[in-house]
Amino acid sequence: MKLESNVPSGPLEEKWNNHLNDIKLVAPNNKRKYNIIVVGTGLAGASAAASLAELGYNVKTFCIQDSARRAHSIAAQGGINAAKNYPNDGDSVWRLFYDTIKGGDYRSREANVYRLAQNSNHIIDQAVAQGVPFAREYGGLLDNRSFGGAQVSRTFYARGQTGQQLLLGAYQSMMKQVHTGKIKNYPRHEMLDLVVVDGVARGIVSRDLIDGKIHRWEADAVVLCTGGYGNVFYLSTNAKNSNVTAAWRCHKRGAAFANPCMVQIHPTCIPVSGDYQSKLTLMSESLRNDGRVWVPKDPDDERHPNDIPEEDRYYYLEERYPSFGNLVPRDVASRNAKMVTDEGMGVGDTGLAVYLDFRDAIKRDGRDVIEAKYGNLFDMYQNITDDNPYEEPMRIFPAVHYTMGGLWVDYNLMSNIPGLFVAGEANYSDHGANRLGASALMQGLSDGYFIIPYTIGNYLADADLEKIDTAHEAFSVAEKDSTEQIDKILSVQGDKTVIEFHRELGKIMWDKVGISRSAEGLNEAISEIRSLREEFWKNVRVPGEANYYNKYLEFALRVADFFELAELMAEDALDRDESCGCHLREEHQTEEGEALRNDEDYAYVSAWEYKGVNGKLEEVLHKENLEFEFVELKQRSYK
């Protein structure tokens, strides 16, 4: 397998512009001859679909939800970064780039990250023009706030609903194109396979989730925007239907999977309360602007938090990281929460929680100010826990939130399968080993609005694709594979439900492939995943039939793929015998428990090639070495 990054030459600041000057164009009257499939309608998918349709391509969009507007981008709360420097606090494209590459612990491509920072300002312009109601100041101009891992205020926000508002902006632009007929939209359709003809992506096979029928779709290019795989952990902040299936099936057709072990554990989520729990709810990182994180110094302190005086509180982030304090990046905050709870200082019924306290902020700014900033988050917290965060500290704990890993892509966001593009969380590209807050929305929209529309033209102009139709043998094979898997999973009729299996898999992943990892634990995880997977295929019980709406069949097919991915994640974490960003190998940490990188041996992106035959998993590791021409690799410090 050849992994060409295709990063253009020249100075960092000029690479993207030079590339735009060099890439080939498709003439307007020719664009209508091309069919493009976009799978997933979150920020990346909706923005790509709308932009491609505006250019004149024929676009088909597919999503598993009943409406394109419901993709999980909708749940992003806090904000979106851009280097506008409106607050005049010294921000610049360079600083946004630098913070992002440093925040990712130097495991992403310089050129990609720089382009992301360059595009950030256009995204804000685009969204405002669409009517996205970002927060404003009394003068009518846009307001900013700060987020973790940055010392400037560059985050644009729309109350605690930034993802919703940005997604609705993209969705509305997309629906406009549906109305003009340039986009054909297929909701409640799940992609089950990628169709590859002569080594090139030429279409997909999907399942209509209402009647279960399998459909074949031909295309000149496929853009995968299907999000991340955090639900492999069962409990995560992801929506219940978020899954890896589309990406995983592409992987099994030859697309390299990059950095699968890179999973972000978000530090501020509502803690687990019982076995029935189906998901975890995020409390936006923006809360750390005003909330102070602490635990009682004495593990046996039984007092109500409000009765614990200042001297008996351990504000561990402020003490350990004086210059960033409560606004350290997510990986650092999560690791520290684990550390203090491991030492027995955790709070709440389970001991798996820390306090996030607004007492001092309310005293300083008044309740009204805090309510205006975080009202909906406080309400959400109170609704779930029945506690009032205006009157007592929130209890929070880390939870799986985002996956930096994903399908490998080059600078053009094309995978190693020509014609298969991957955008948003589904690709691995910009966040390295850790994503900074308010950067996911930025990346999804940068990919969809401002990269894919150009790079796909460059590909199509040169691709010289033969006309094919869905009678082609490759479609028949893909359809047959999908149908056989469905039949197989329904025929097991064992004793354990899909959810029971998924929960067990999640526990293995959380315990051994979670916040901290060790060679010993990872090896155990691999063998446990294998035996549980074997049991799954012998003992799972999937109710009902394939020819009508059957949510548990959908889940079963997705969990089957999670079982395979889980093993690869553990294998990747085992291979990466260093710590970096969110990936903490217990064998490699400083005395203070900080991640100890090994740039000499591990400054690469791992890209795994599927080599399985007859259902036996076999993955081969390829490496894309990361070259750093413009930044100096340093030990990341937020002290």
Partner: protein, 249 residues
Amino acid sequence: MSTMTIHLKIWRQKNAEAQGHFEKYTLNDVSEHMSFLEMLDVLNEDLIKKGEDPVEFDYDCREGICGSCNLVINGRAHGPKHMTAACQLHMRMYNDGDTIVVEPPRAAGFPVIRDLVVDRNALDRIIEAGGYISVKTGSAPEANIIPVEKDISEEAFDYATCIGCGACVAACPNSSAHLFTAAKIAHLNLLPQGKPEKEKRVVAMVNQMEKEGFGDCSNYAECEAVCPVGVSISSIAQMRKDYLKAIFS
């Protein structure tokens, strides 16, 4: 932790054409900390183990923002708690021994797919007709070129928070989609960016709404009462005003 016994009467319907009926179930050991949907998950686990068909219902984010969930609980869209989507409802709202009736939203515009799952694509088609500001990617001016009064921006936001769940339609005696449609119109028409298409937008969206078979608005205000994000019916007044202006100008 206290647990409860809960009796359920749930609407079961195999598909759009089939006749539906209520089925009774009893669940023991329901924790007060469970969400309403987690309670249904537990029911489904039981049903699957017994070899029966689980109850189908729509959900995704379970954070009250995606708008997938749309249950009508004891006759009220999203259940008893004000400004709360069904997925954010917790069992602590109920008492030991309660009977809870769960139905799909009933409206001609929302045909049943299976059990509690319905087709709400009519709402997407209303957005398609004009619920956008036309701005091609790349053609936007610098964001701070157009100042927007903070109050106007906040008011537009109050309408923009609509999650598209369709509870307003389910609650309306006329099955009207006025609140949904008006929320989007008010959001966009209030903003300076939305002014150029203001009239075209309101006419196109209202016409589409009528074409989808949703009823008219008789000011019952049931929609506002059940809206999980509190969209105000003042949006409907705005829509009517804009509509009249548009057709008489």
